[in-house]
């Protein structure tokens, strides 16, 4: 009987470590949490888009507007919790991203800034409405930025759910 060394495989190559496995385990665990929170966030995200249509109006204070604000806030909170787990998941040395995961990672450059900008613009718009003003200036971009952000976010989910 002969051994792996006879095949030119060194003992270092043949032997793994508990530390390497622990790193993989931690990475998988954190990315599962990233996935879970990311999927949960789609619920208030869809609801906030749905309530956006009633969030305008002439009144300085409406229940729909407060509901839209609450749902948007919940979306943002869940989004950043999800992002935390993705950012903090351990990297595995010697590996390079390839495949559809690259699309998923690239889309963060759209929905990431969008999830920061959307609530900022929304807060300005809310303030203007509360004062009885028509939404104007940079705040008028809140809707468009939100839609682009939601679209990029949805595409990010689709990119790791289906094989293209």
């Amino acid at each position: 009987m002969f051994s792996l060394q006879d095949l030119g495989i060194s003992s270092e190559q043949a032997q793994g470590t508990a530390a390497d496995q622990a790193r993989l385990d931690k990475r998988s665990h954190m990315l599962k949490l990233h996935q879970r929170f990311g999927l949960i966030a789609t619920v208030p995200l869809i609801a906030s888009v749905a309530t956006s249509f009633g969030a305008g109006g002439r009144s300085t204070s409406t229940a729909d507007r407060w509901t839209h604000l609450a749902l948007g806030s919940a979306t943002g909170d869940l989004y950043f919790i999800s992002a935390y787990f993705a950012i903090r998941a351990p990297r595995i040395p010697g590996t390079q991203s390839h495949g559809q995961i690259r699309v998923h990672k690239a889309l963060v450059w759209i929905h990431g800034p969008g999830m920061i900008l959307t609530p900022i613009l929304g807060a300005i718009a809310f303030d203007q409405k509360s004062k009885g003003e028509k939404v104007h200036g940079i705040a008028s971009a809140h809707g468009a930025v939100a839609i682009v952000t939601a679209a990029a976010y949805s595409a990010a989910i689709v990119s790791v759910s289906f094989k293209f």
């Binding site: 495989i9 793994g16 622990a22 993989l24 590996t95 991203s97 995961i101």
Partner: protein, 179 residues
């Protein structure tokens, strides 16, 4: 000179006259695993297997080894999750050992008993059929190992809470060359 002395002299001068082991080396290989989710199928391919066969006194021992991380499913994230699920950090190699009579090389179908070491477990697969074709000096072997996750105590990964199928067949295509 005695007959024994002449014979010894001949054997030293012409080593091939002595009974020698024959060896085979794995020249090329394609190993493909197939995973089935309820909504999609995935395959991962490795061309990195190494193997050797030594025949002595009519019996041949073969050893094939491949690194778990050499399998490429087309998505690095999926490959890393696979590596974690199969405990590839701790057990980075898959090895297959088999023992065949030298006469099996004349058969078009070989039934082999395999000892597979993977994910820290050792499992025996009996009478696995391999197709065998000889082309020039090369021997082409193809077959499928009916691996299951349960055999190796691997928890089935899930996609959106739906577990993967227990059956993960490994398609094997190998080209062996005599040394």
């Amino acid at each position: 000179m005695s007959t024994k002395f002449i014979l010894a002299l001949l054997l030293l001068t012409f080593p091939r006259l002595a009974v020698a082991d024959s060896q085979r080396i794995l020249e090329e290989s394609t190993l493909t695993y197939h995973v089935s989710y309820p909504l999609k199928q995935t395959e991962g391919v490795s061309h990195a297997a190494k193997g050797k066969g030594v025949c002595h006194d009519g019996q041949c021992d073969f050893l094939i080894a491949v690194a778990v991380k050499s399998f490429d499913s087309g998505d690095s994230n999926r490959d890393l999750h696979m590596l974690q699920v199969v405990r590839g950090g701790q057990f980075p190699m898959i090895t297959v050992r088999t023992h065949l009579p030298e006469g099996a090389s004349s058969l078009s179908t070989i039934a082999a008993d395999l000892e597979v070491q993977f994910a820290g477990q050792t499992v025996q697969y009996k009478q696995i059929a391999f197709q065998h074709v000889t082309k020039g000096g090369d021997t082409l072997i193809t077959g499928t190992i009916p691996l299951t996750l349960a055999d190796f105590k691997i928890d089935p990964p899930t996609l959106l809470a739906l577990p993967v199928k227990n059956d993960v067949p490994i398609r094997v295509e190998m080209k062996w060359r005599a040394m």
